[in-house]
């Protein structure tokens, strides 16, 4: 496994993402809560740049007309057909077998200042 430098943690505020190149692969790095997640920027459906889609919540419901939001910031909707994927796992919500690759992300502390923490993805 090789690690690739993403940037400083402070470059990706919570709820946002950054698309990086690592070893020739385009990868989306997401900051959700106090964690970082990385998924391949390719939709397994028809090959769109998945991470350019909207980052949003999972919408569930108990009955018609009711919309409940959960897992805020953990869902990416592909820009082309709006298939929803879990940024934590790379799995499609309604069909987990349909997935894009996910990668481990680590935060390595080189300084006491949290702004200077470095992010790495591991391929």
């Amino acid at each position: 496994m090789t690690r690739f430098f993403v940037g400083k943690a402070s470059e990706i505020p919570e709820g946002e993402k950054k698309i990086i190149e690592a070893n020739g692969r385009s990868i989306g790095v997401y900051h959700v809560g106090d964690q970082f997640y990385a998924i391949r920027n390719t939709c397994p459906h028809q090959g769109a740049e998945l991470c350019r889609g909207i980052t949003t919540a999972l919408i569930t419901s108990t009955r018609p007309g009711v919309f409940e939001y959960e897992h805020e910031g953990e869902i990416v909707r592909c820009p082309w057909h709006q298939w929803e994927f879990d940024v934590k796992t790379g799995c499609m919500i309604v069909d987990p077998k349909m997935r894009t690759k996910s990668y481990e992300v680590t935060v390595e502390r080189y300084n006491v200042s949290i702004e200077d923490n470095h992010l790495y993805v591991h391929l």
Partner: protein, 374 residues
């Protein structure tokens, strides 16, 4: 030589096995149901006639849609003579059970819901008295004034517990797609009485109902028939997208007489769109096809002939026919499907599902009384 003999023996055995026919139209002549109406309506009919909408299109056969050889010897309307129905249909085709689906749907296109309710009650009582009481092989359908779901629910609760009533029936022509919440009191009553809800093609574009296609009215009867799946498709999508099967998980819906095989690509399309647009209707928790397979059944006639057996088998698989398709003849209508000839040869297990078990399970009908196989 030996193989041929076995094949022929199998064929003979199969013809001896009884079947369930889920669409038999018994005639409920208006004059015959009139005595069952309250006096006020009988008086109105005497003064002003029946005030029911009629078809705007031609039909097939004779006497508006009937097989030319189905007129009973007494000259009565096809489907109105039980003894002749026994001779022409029930006995020769070894029908263990048949579901009667009536004829007088036109009240379901009337703007007068109370009148429609009175007519439906009259039809239901007439069917109990003159058909279900006289032939234990025949089961009944509860007609409802679908214009008014509360009156419909009342009728389902009034007559639906009759042991020989096995389903609730409406025509496909409607003011709103049938999954709409407007209709939910009907499904509450269906579930309570454990009765499937059957949508039978008819009345599209008539009376108070919506035009028979989304593009407007068609001109000709074959064109009208060709477009029936469009209306049925709207009802099916409505049941799924309005969340009816989440609200009423035990409700069963039967799609009758709009064909079978168009459902395959329609289900594929709904599944694909659901993947993309799930979050717009998050109360639809499963793939649309899963709701179809668990809650919807489809009767076979008029079965679309396929260009070859390979396509036939693939389409049968695509609609999961071994669980969803139920044979019906549509007797005595002109486009009757013969129990012996309408289907190409089916594997034995599949034949048994389509010609008996799927209907027996849906309607709670018993196993065959006598096993007539050799």
């Amino acid at each position: 030589m030996e193989a041929t003999e076995i094949k022929q023996r199998e064929k003979r055995t199969k013809m001896k096995r009884s079947i369930i026919d889920v669409d038999i139209h018994h005639k409920t002549e208006l004059e015959d149901i009139k005595p069952y109406l309250p006096r006020a309506y009988r008086d109105q009919i005497d003064l002003w006639g029946w005030r029911l909408p009629g078809s705007l299109w031609l039909n097939g056969g004779v006497k508006v849609g009937q097989m030319a050889d189905s007129t009973p010897p007494d000259g009565s309307f096809p489907g109105s003579n039980l003894e002749f129905m026994r001779k022409q249909l029930l006995d020769p085709y070894n029908i263990e059970y048949g579901v009667l689906t009536g004829t007088e749907y036109f009240c379901q296109a009337s703007p007068d819901a109370d009148y429609a309710a009175a007519l439906c009650s009259a039809i239901n009582d007439f069917t109990c008295d003159h058909w279900l009481a006289n032939e234990s092989r025949l089961k009944g359908s509860v007609f409802i004034p679908k214009q008014d779901p509360l009156l419909s629910a009342k009728e389902i609760r009034r007559i639906g517990s009759h042991p020989d009533m096995v389903q609730v029936i409406v025509a496909s022509g409607a003011e709103k797609p049938y999954g709409n919440r407007f209709y939910h009191p009907i499904y509450e009553a269906c579930v309570e009485q454990d009765l499937p809800f059957t949508i039978h093609v008819l009345l599209e574009g008539l009376g108070i109902n919506a035009p028979n296609t989304g593009a407007g009215y068609v001109s000709y009867y074959p064109e009208y028939r060709a477009c029936r799946p469009q209306v049925m498709a709207a009802h099916l999508a409505s049941f799924i997208y309005e969340g009816v099967f989440e609200k009423f998980p035990t409700l069963k819906v039967v799609l009758q007489e709009a064909g079978v095989f168009w459902l395959a690509p329609f289900l594929w399309k709904m599944d694909e769109d659901w993947k993309a647009l799930r979050f717009q209707t998050p109360w639809v928790k499963k793939k649309p096809s899963e709701y179809f397979f668990s809650n919807v059944r489809v009767s076979s006639q008029p079965l679309e002939p396929t260009p070859n057996m390979e396509i036939f088998r693939q389409l049968m698989n695509a609609v999961n026919a071994s669980e969803t398709v139920m044979f019906c003849s549509d007797y005595p209508h002109w486009d009757f499907d013969s129990p012996l000839m309408a289907f190409p040869k089916l594997e034995d297990d599949l034949w048994e599902r389509v010609f008996y078990q799927n209907a027996a399970e849906l309607y709670g009908l018993p196993a065959r009384k006598a096993q007539k196989e050799e």
